[in-house]
């Protein structure tokens, strides 16, 4: 069991940090690669657990995959299976993308119900609705999702709720379906655009990704290509908030600032200086920041993945802030741990009231999920004394070299075998 130790109150973060490729794009693009039997190369992948698990799953299905230095070469010409094993799949939520990809390539898929972070109910009913509309028979039994789709056929699909996973899964299943598919009320996240870019470059015909109507005209087969994954807006937001919280001065490199508009706007509202130029963002913290209200929404709203992080920043703000979580109803599980560090937070349903400023104090805490774990690192940087974070495997699922990056910025953080 590995743990992170952070000696807090160690001064502001300062320096430059390079942002890695987007986890949430990569975990969709890698399964998408099996839709083609030609070799593909994916660049700028983050060196994180989710990517390596997904690669292992592909290998277990007969796919050749070799990783070297952020690049993954995939040759799915020898794909020989459509049944993903539970031991690997349980470790990541995004394994459900194998449903659409395998159904599109093989006409059938068996994938255990997905694992990943426990953020409360995250039903996959919209995925099933979409696959069914395309002509697949979907059954859920004994913990397995079974898809039978001898010939997928395009359809008009209206998503009842905006869902990134369902939008991508339907897209994956539809690219080789017969005829035209229209997804209405589609999610608009940049990771969907990046997945569509990858598929289009392989020969797919997808239009409208990044808008709420996506049109897909099925093609017979896909070819090979090389694709570079977009920068991770959530990782970038994490370091922006960490810089702001410590009153630091941090330059983020290799970002797409447009993807961070809601974060930039919220930090500026708090009185924090955010300068934007080309593919860089500089954050200069302000102590104490002003209290603000935050509401999470699907893109282009404020991302739910940064809710726990901005909550930590708001413990330093003068006054009361209200955070409303509109995306995942169970996403306040980090609050109890933050309260153990001295935060004054009250939760009522989907709303949290954060009172500040308070001086956090170091404590042993458990990373209840990936983003909660990152928020405990930021809390640890602010706290007096030492913070020990357990269950760090959650953090490594989604953040590349997080200790090294924080160390370069001046944090006193180390990972030990505990």
């Amino acid at each position: 069991m590995r743990k992170l130790h952070i000696n807090g109150n160690n001064g502001p973060l300062n320096g430059k940090v390079k942002i890695s490729g987007a986890k949430n794009a990569a975990v969709a693009i890698i399964p998408a690669a099996i839709l083609s039997s030609a070799p593909v190369r994916i660049d700028n992948l983050p060196d994180i657990q989710d990517i390596h698990i997904l690669t292992e799953i592909l290998r277990s299905l007969g796919v050749e995959a070799s990783w070297h230095n952020g690049t993954l070469d995939i040759d799915a010409g020898g794909l020989s299976g459509w049944h993903a094993t539970y031991e690997l799949v349980k470790k990541l939520r995004a394994s459900y993308y194998l449903l659409g990809a395998l159904a599109g390539r093989c006409g059938k898929a068996v994938v255990p119900a997905p694992g990943g972070c426990d953020l409360g109910p995250r039903p996959i009913d919209q995925h099933i609705k979409g696959l069914t509309a395309l002509g697949a028979r979907v059954e859920v039994e004994h913990g397995l999702i079974k898809v039978e789709a001898p010939r997928l056929t395009g359809a008009d699909i209206y998503l009842d709720v905006v869902s990134v996973g369902a939008t991508i899964n339907i897209m994956l299943a539809a690219v080789r379906a017969r005829g035209r598919t229209v997804i209405e009320n589609a999610a608009k996240e940049p990771e969907i655009v990046d997945t569509a870019n990858f598929l289009n470059a392989m020969g797919a015909n997808i239009r409208g990704a990044g808008t709420d109507v996506i049109k897909i005209t099925g093609v017979e087969e896909l070819g090979g290509m090389t694709h570079t994954v977009i920068p991770d807006r959530i990782e970038a937001g994490t370091y922006m908030i960490a810089a702001a919280a410590t009153g630091g001065d941090v330059l983020l490199c290799d970002v797409i600032p447009k993807h961070l508009d809601p974060v930039i706007a919220k930090l500026r509202e708090m009185g924090i200086t955010v300068e934007v130029a080309d593919d860089q963002i500089r954050v200069v913290g302000q102590c104490p920041p002003q209290a603000v209200d935050v509401k999470t929404f699907p893109y282009p709203g404020f991302p739910t993945d940064l809710q726990s992080l901005i909550m930590v920043l708001l413990t330093k703000a003068r006054g009361c802030s209200i955070i409303t979580e509109n995306v995942f109803e169970g996403r306040f599980r980090h609050v109890d741990e933050l309260k153990r560090m001295g935060a004054r937070i009250k939760v009522e349903g989907r709303t949290a009231l954060v009172e500040g400023p308070v001086q956090l104090t170091g404590a042993p805490v458990a990373a209840t999920d990936l983003r909660a774990g990152a928020s405990f690192i930021v809390a640890g940087l602010l706290a007096e004394g030492e913070t020990e974070i357990s269950q760090v495997e959650h953090i490594h699922r989604g953040y590349e070299k997080i200790c090294e990056k924080f160390k370069v910025l001046g944090a006193d953080i180390r990972e030990i075998e505990g």
């Binding site: 608009k188 940049p190 655009v193 990046d194 569509a196 870019n197 289009n200 470059a201 239009r207 409208g208 990704a209 990044g210 808008t211 290509m225 090389t226 570079t228 977009i230 797409i256 447009k258 993807h259 130029a277 080309d278 593919d279």
Partner: protein, 90 residues
């Protein structure tokens, strides 16, 4: 507002004094996308529709370049140029 279709609008960069026209931007972005194996027209249309720079490759700094001009300015140039051709003024 420009009262003639044959005027080329110039836009100033934020960080340096280099100036690109919409035509320069389209040409360079198109070239970068093609070099990376994308369907350049579809990618540019996707960007213009959604506003998401993820449509544009970072190759040859194309993603930064296309953000130098606002989307409405790029669209205005496209419409003007198209209408100019239709009216035989090109």
């Amino acid at each position: 507002m420009h009262d003639s279709f044959d005027q080329t609008v110039k836009f100033k960069l934020r960080e340096d004094d280099e100036v690109f026209s919409a035509a320069d931007v389209f040409k360079l972005v198109h070239e970068a996308l093609k070099e990376k194996g994308y369907n350049a027209i579809n990618q540019i249309v996707g960007y213009l529709l959604s506003g998401d720079p993820a449509y544009i490759t970072s190759h040859k700094n194309a993603r930064v370049l296309i953000r130098r001009l606002e989307r409405d300015e790029l669209l205005e140039e496209l419409v003007k140029s198209y209408l100019e051709r239709l009216s035989g003024g090109g």
